[in-house]
Amino acid sequence: MMATSALARLSPFNITSLALGLAFLYLPIVILVIYSFNASRLVTVWGGWSVRWYVEFFNDGAMLSALAMSLRVAAVSATAATVFGTLAAVALTRAGAFHGRTLFSGMLYAPLVMPEVITGLSLLLLFVAVDAQRGFWTVTIAHTTLTMCFVAVVVQSRLGSLDRSLEEAAMDLGCDPFRAFVKVTLPLILPSVVAGWMLAFTLSMDDVVIASFTTGPGSTTLPIRIYSEVRLGVKPEINAICTLIVGSIAVIIVAASLASKLSSRQGESAAPL
């Protein structure tokens, strides 16, 4: 017993590494948020608190239309990705062995780590080869392809840990498989499906490389726009936009963890990957 408690105790080394690690992860974002409220035009000189850069952003028509474009792409691609990703996860966990299974799982896992320049370039060449008009739909298709793999992984890890006797019981009691899935399985995996949708949405809102390859003239997404501004240096308005994005993501995550706490008694966290 003594050995266990001594070994399981947090050593000062453990506490220090945790504290430093979390500080490293959060400090840059905190600094960015603070500087977004800086009144001074010089990003590095503190000129008092102000929201002028937020006002500037809401008057910047080009930025706002890029934001609108990104929101549309993210909403449509995340929804499609959630449907396809959930179907893929069901197939991988419930279908047993089938022809092409290795190819299927390979195609689902490879995009998670595939360098984005390769994915972007290859999709663009496909779109050019079939003479597709590049713009909203090509970016949406590209993002659906990438993010459905993340959805599949998130949903699959939940499906894998699910007690299968529940859906088996439903079918023994006369449900057909489709009804058993909708009535029993789907409600149980819903938190991970929702988490998958949100992950797909944020990944889509974040992507520069694949969108740069697959978009066309006149359909600039917010990350492409931010990226081209950032290349020219730090601008206070960009600080404000980034703070707004970080703030909305924080709200989404808090809402999601509250929702999953309410809906799943197992308390399984919605971990990506």
């Binding site: 001594a6 960015l32 299927f104 195609m107 360098p115």
Partner: protein, 304 residues
């Protein structure tokens, strides 16, 4: 048991839509990359490719095959610029992965030592930055590292340096950006294996006279090898092809392969060379990709 068999047929049908989607939008495009990498750039024209025409029949197909050439690959082999680019990418990815392991391991280890109640909170704290925009996280470092940024101010105020140092456009800045962006990818798989280690094993080691350090080296470290492997692959493969971080934080003297590909595609508008670069990069990453796919499959499907 009856239920299990009943379920597998419709589950197989569920695979159809995602399967076709990935065939069409993930696998098939590589064919086009390969095709373009074997063709010539059309000079004095926008990068225009012939529309795919399956109506041409066998003769057209043969003519297309005959028109293929290895010139782009010969160019890649003959110009040291490209070889250096690949080399730099692999070196940067290796160095970054090592730093990530050194930084991520103590954090994951600390997380696994937390009381069971607070472990999920620590996990969410590590995941949240992964959800915040990647671009914003890199941008946050430009804020800090620029010439009159907060890092130089702190260093000067503490009299650690007499004049501000140059941080931006250096390899140091790039490594900081990469480690910062990929840290959750390293921590999560490490934590997953570390948290699963049976405390009874550590107890046994202590009862047999092992010190904390001995126990760590002989019990914990070997048992965490799968997590080390998964984390390393999850970081190494995408870092090799990384574009945004080196472009924003590193100097332009020696580009990584992602930057070279970008340059050939967007600036030089040489699609065939960009495609050839992508083909070679893919071949380079094929072995780690296959290992990664196996690890991932075992991890996700082994539990059932």
């Amino acid at each position: 048991m009856s239920g299990r068999r009943l379920f597998s047929v419709p589950a197989r049908r569920a695979a159809l839509a995602p399967f076709l989607w990935m065939l069409l939008f993930f696998l098939l495009p590589f064919g086009f990359v390969l095709k373009i990498s074997l063709s010539h750039a059309v000079i004095a024209q926008p990068p225009y490719l012939p529309v795919f025409d399956p109506a041409g029949g066998v003769a057209a197909f043969k003519a297309a095959i005959a028109a293929l050439s290895l010139d782009n690959f010969r160019l890649l082999a003959s110009d040291h610029f490209y070889a250096l680019s690949y080399l730099r990418s692999v070196v940067v990815a290796l160095v970054s992965t090592s730093i990530l392991l050194a930084v991520g391991y103590p954090i994951a280890y600390g997380m696994s030592r937390l009381p069971a109640r607070s472990q999920p909170v620590a996990m969410i704290l590590v995941i949240v930055p992964f959800w915040t925009s990647f671009l914003i996280r890199v941008y946050a470092w430009i804020n800090i590292l620029q010439h009159d940024g907060i890092l130089n101010k702190v260093l000067v105020a503490l009299h650690l340096v007499s004049a501000p140092l140059v941080w931006l456009s250096t390899d140091a800045a790039m490594y900081v950006g990469i480690v910062y962006s990929y840290l959750p990818f390293m921590i999560l798989p490490l934590y997953a294996t570390l948290a699963k280690i049976d405390p009874a094993l550590l107890e046994a080691s202590a009862d047999l006279g092992g010190s904390r350090l001995t126990t760590f080296w002989l019990v914990t470290a070997p048992l965490s090898l799968p997590g080390i492997g998964a984390g390393a692959l999850l970081c190494f493969i995408p870092i090799v092809g990384e574009f945004v971080i080196p472009d924003l934080l590193a100097g332009s003297a020696s580009p990584m392969i992602g930057q070279t590909l970008w340059l050939e595609f967007f600036t030089n508008r040489d699609w065939p060379v960009a495609s050839a670069l992508a083909v070679v990069l893919l071949v380079l990453l094929l072995a780690p990709l296959l290992v990664y796919e196996r690890v991932q499959r075992r991890r996700l499907e082994g539990a059932q």
